[in-house]
Amino acid sequence: MVFLLIALFAVASLTLLAIDGDDTDIWAFVMAGCIVAVLAAEYILFPVLFRHGDRSLLLIINTLAVLGLVFQYRLDPWTAFRQLAWFIVGLTVMGGVVWFLSRWEGFEAGSWLYMGMGLALLAASLVYGSTAGGAKSWVRISEVLSIQPSEFAKVTLCLSLASVLREQRRFTGYLPLFAFILLSVALLVVQKDLGAAALYYITFLGVLMAATSNGWWVSAGVLGAAGGAVAAYHFFDHVRLRVSVWLDPWSLPDTGGYQIIQGLEAVARGGLLGAGLGQGFPTRIPAVRNDYIFAAVCEELGIAAGIIVIAFYLILVVRGAFIARAARDSFRSLLAASATLMIAAQSFIIIGGVLRMIPLTGITLPLVSYGGSSMLGTLMLCGILQAIAQRNGIDRQSARQAKAKRVTQGEGP
């Protein structure tokens, strides 16, 4: 039923975009049809393939993705179709992740493998990367295809955190993980991908707290981050620029502060219900298709839509917490927690940056922003959540069956 609402959202908004302007845009109807087809496929396939998957999570994913697709179409129809292709690929990959994780046991032991893969991915973008938008994090695969390895490194980070932190160790047992984190963050800072660096570190601290409940360590980590930030401020120009632009963008209205100012003005122009789809001027904002998509949503659909988007990410956190709590062993629990935290932290970092609550960093709004790697990475993390939810459901079922058997055999509950 809710799928129908999402489909209606797509059809209504794309129809508006189709009739807006002088000629009727046929391709908008094509896009609407494609979206409805994808939603229908999910509606039919999901309960069949993943009996215990988290359907609400799927609803959240689809709402955000459809919102993103509509806005990508509004900004540039060609990128919207590319985004749609990546979405379909991503959904398939999400299913693949669920299947993959359910097939084998022993994932919890591969901590060295995960850390190695993570570092390799980040190093790859350092070595092979080409700069785009100030960050050196893109690797060109072909003429039209470039990926961001740091997005996939997110998955390996979650796996590393979960596989190391699942059991209590002596302090020396955690050192490889700490070294891995520091190296990853350093690699990202060197590539000027400060948003990803912050994201990794925040996720690490969060999962560390969840796993060890050791407030001292986490506080030490926060202090270390503060120290690192201060050091970065002194040593790196681009950090200084970001901070000064954050504190007073109007001092650099034509260069550094232009993006932030345009974003703020766009959000303000939107008012409560927005200027109307297609009526705003989001193209004034640099990087509006990826980093600043939130400002475009607020400008054209209003602050109300912005608040609802934020609420969706919060609900995602709650559902991720449910999945983590229901997990039977600590590896799966921490894996769910880290995946949830990654998605949530990423969305809050970029929304906070757009609204000038924190300095702006170049990361995408999960599922809404344009970006194939970002979409894939986020859907892989969601796949991890669905896989754990699926496993929780299976465990719950077998526990119920075992309990029923015990009762009927007279052994007592």
């Binding site: 609400s56 709402t63 927005g274 789809l277 209003g302 609802i308 969706f312």
Partner: protein
């Protein structure tokens, strides 16, 4: 106002409404699941561990369990050497304690207890002639291959 403008106006209100509707529906589902989990947990709180005697019989440990021969106890032991109300095993701030209650002796891993002691998985508790092996629920159980599997069937929530 032409029909195009009318449609634009309708869509202007429709889109946030749909988003809000989806959000509310997801919130409602989440709240319902939360309440169901809460109810299930209140009805049957998960055991904190189990005690196994030599005969292989298992007793589930609740948050606070009293052991003794009397039928009023949570865990009733039929050993003649066990007092009516002999000992208590309870959990406080993630630690499980064993507290002797009667004048009868309580042994922990062979040593007689004079007061409260902390319990760990694998400990042996002696009351009268009965020796009970402790298995505690919790993320890190330790123990042999047979242990965790058996204890897991007692542990775990039905969330």
């Amino acid at each position: 106002m032409g029909w195009r403008e009318l449609y634009a106006l309708a869509v202007r209100y429709l889109l946030p409404t749909i988003m809000a509707a989806v959000l509310l529906r997801v919130m409602f589902i989440t709240a319902r699941e939360w309440r169901a989990a809460r109810r299930a947990r209140d009805l049957t709180p998960p055991p904190i561990g189990s005690l196994t005697d030599d005969a292989g019989r298992q007793y589930a440990l609740g948050h606070d369990s009293v052991l003794g021969r009397s039928r009023r106890c949570d865990i009733v032991l039929s050993d003649a050497g066990v007092a009516g109300v002999h000992a208590q095993i309870y959990e406080r701030r993630r630690t499980v304690f064993l507290q002797p209650l009667a004048r009868g002796k309580v042994f922990l891993n062979g040593a007689a207890l004079s007061g409260r002691a902390k319990l760990q998985s694998g400990d042996t508790v002696g009351l009268g002639e009965t020796a009970l092996t402790v298995r505690l629920c919790g993320r890190d159980q330790g123990g042999d291959e047979a242990g965790p599997a058996k204890a897991e069937s007692q542990c775990g929530t039905d969330v």
